[in-house]
Every structure is written in structure tokens, then in C-alpha cells.
Subunit: 138 residues, 2 copies
DNA sequence: CTGAGTGCGTCCAAAATCCCGACTTACTGC
DNA sequence: GCAGTAAGTCGGGATTTTGGACGCACTCAG
């Protein structure tokens, strides 16, 4: 977890990932949509490429222009994004309801659900945090 | 999503939340375990309390000592933590495998799964980002 | 050809944040 | 009395972020 956050926990990082999921692969497009300082976004894209989450592909030379694509590791961030959105929709949405929605091919929105790894049972969160085993660290 | 990150996306915030899930509710304990600067952690705890994720309860006066508990909104962050851990375990774990494991009451670890909100079908991620509807912003 | 516009950055100075170690206060246990 | 613990605060330096301007290599309209 700590490791995840090191890679993906910096400001703007996850928003950039979301943008690529939404199909906005170009620098300017992202700047416009998420409102990050160009400088910071450039740095963030670099670290995300280094971390193997984005792949930077040239789509034109003279002038060299690049697009960012998700690697497999990047695509695996999808549940993180959905989960975060879910939480925000639940606890932070103001008058204007949930915006940007990702849809399943069947036409309905996606969500994540907590399940037990082995029995698959959709573990509803107990009122008290679930039982856990404590171990060195994470 | 952007809103979620504003609340929970600051450095150390999610690690603090995780600690409370693990049952470490005291300031010093958290400092020791996550290694954040005392200063920063103090600030973070304050913002998390303001955001309604933690509740600060006094457990002794003379000297006044406090513990942090999760509110309902805080408990709802559980899937976010699990999802993040899952991703880290998958893509970032080095020789030392996944540490700190949360377990379901049946004794097995928990995980999150992407499902369709209506059909419940465990939507596996399509090779290409899923279809989506684009809307103003998030 | 000229001038405007676009795309992807970089540069810089100011502001905000973060980090670290030391310090404080009020206990408890030896 | 002395060490230790707990929950911070304080001062200051180090690091990041921010926003605006700038550069460059095009393309397009006139």
C-alpha cells in the first residue's frame, strides 16, 4: 500500500490516469481538463512513464508529438479509480450528482465490491473494521 | 474523483486511515509505523477530522490524550485501501510478498472485484478501456 | 508571405508543503 | 529522582507546486 501510494499518490497522478482512461491521451487536453499546472503535469507524466503505468508513444515527428497510453499495470489501476469515484460520489457529491460515468458493455455503470478472496462471498463491511491479522508492515 | 483526492489524496492521509483500520488509533503509534513527520501527521489528522473521516476522542485528561476513530464515511474508505493494496501487491511487491493482510471473518483475505452495478456480472477489464460516456467533468 | 493558432513542453520566481530534530507538558513505573 | 511515554508544537531548511511567460515546429487562412 505504501508502495502504491509512492507511485500513484502524488498530486494529479490519478487524475492523469483517469484522463487516459477517458481517452484523453494528449498533454494539452489533460492540462485543460484537470487544470494542473503544465509544469507539474509534465513531471507527473514522466514519473508515471518511469513507473511503467504509461507508455509514451510518438504520433508525429517534426514537430514531435506524443500520446500517453496505459500499460497493463496502468489498466489495472481501473478499480482504484472506480473505488475512489464511488466513495466521492457517496460522501462528497454536492447538488450536482455523480458526473463522468464509466459504463459496462451491457450499458450499466461499473462498481467495485468487497469480496472474500476464497469464498467469494460479498463481504459487507462489518460495523467494526473486519478482523485482521497484524504483521510487520505494508 | 477529484473531490475524493482533495480529501484523501494528500501525502500520508491514506496511510493514517489504514493504521486506524489496523487498530492503531494513537498519534505516536502512527508516527512510528508509517514514519511520517510528526508535524505533517498532526496536520493530516486535523484535516481528516474536519473532513469527517476521523473522530477525535479523548481517552484521558491530565494529560489530555486522544485517539482517532473512523466515522462511517471513514469506514467506507475500506475498499479504496484494499484496492490500492491489491494493485501494489500485484505490481510492486518485491521479494518479500504481500505483508499486512486483512482477513474476512471466514479466515480468508478480502479483495475487491469490478462488477456491473445492475447485472452484477464480474466485469473483467476489456483489453481496451471499457466503454464510457463522457460528461462535463468529475 | 504573414499572422494566428495549436501542441508540448521548459524556465523562473513565489508560494505552499514537507521534513527533521528539539522541546514541552503531564503523567506512570522503577 | 530518573527514565520513559504520549501528543503534540516550534523553528528552519529542503523540496514541490504553482502560474505565467516563453520557445519551437509546425498548420491553416488570407
Amino acid at each position: 500500500m505504501a508502495r502504491s501510494l509512492e507511485v500513484v499518490g502524488e498530486k494529479w497522478a490519478l487524475l492523469a490516469v483517469r484522463e487516459v482512461f477517458l481517452g484523453n491521451r494528449r498533454f494539452d487536453e489533460m492540462v485543460r481538463r484537470i487544470g494542473a499546472p503544465r509544469d507539474t503535469l509534465a513531471a507527473r507524466l514522466r514519473t508515471l512513464v518511469e513507473a511503467g503505468i504509461f507508455e509514451r508513444r510518438q504520433y508525429s515527428d517534426h514537430p514531435a508529438r506524443f500520446e500517453y497510453f496505459l500499460t497493463d499495470a496502468g489498466k489495472d489501476l481501473y478499480p482504484v479509480i472506480v473505488t475512489l469515484r464511488q466513495w466521492g460520489d457517496r460522501h462528497l457529491s454536492e447538488q450536482d450528482g455523480p458526473p463522468a460515468v464509466f459504463k459496462h458493455t451491457c450499458g450499466h455503470p461499473l462498481m467495485t465490491r468487497l469480496v472474500c478472496e476464497s469464498c467469494g462471498e460479498p463481504a459487507s463491511l462489518p460495523s467494526r473494521p473486519p478482523t485482521f491479522t497484524r504483521q510487520p508492515a505494508s
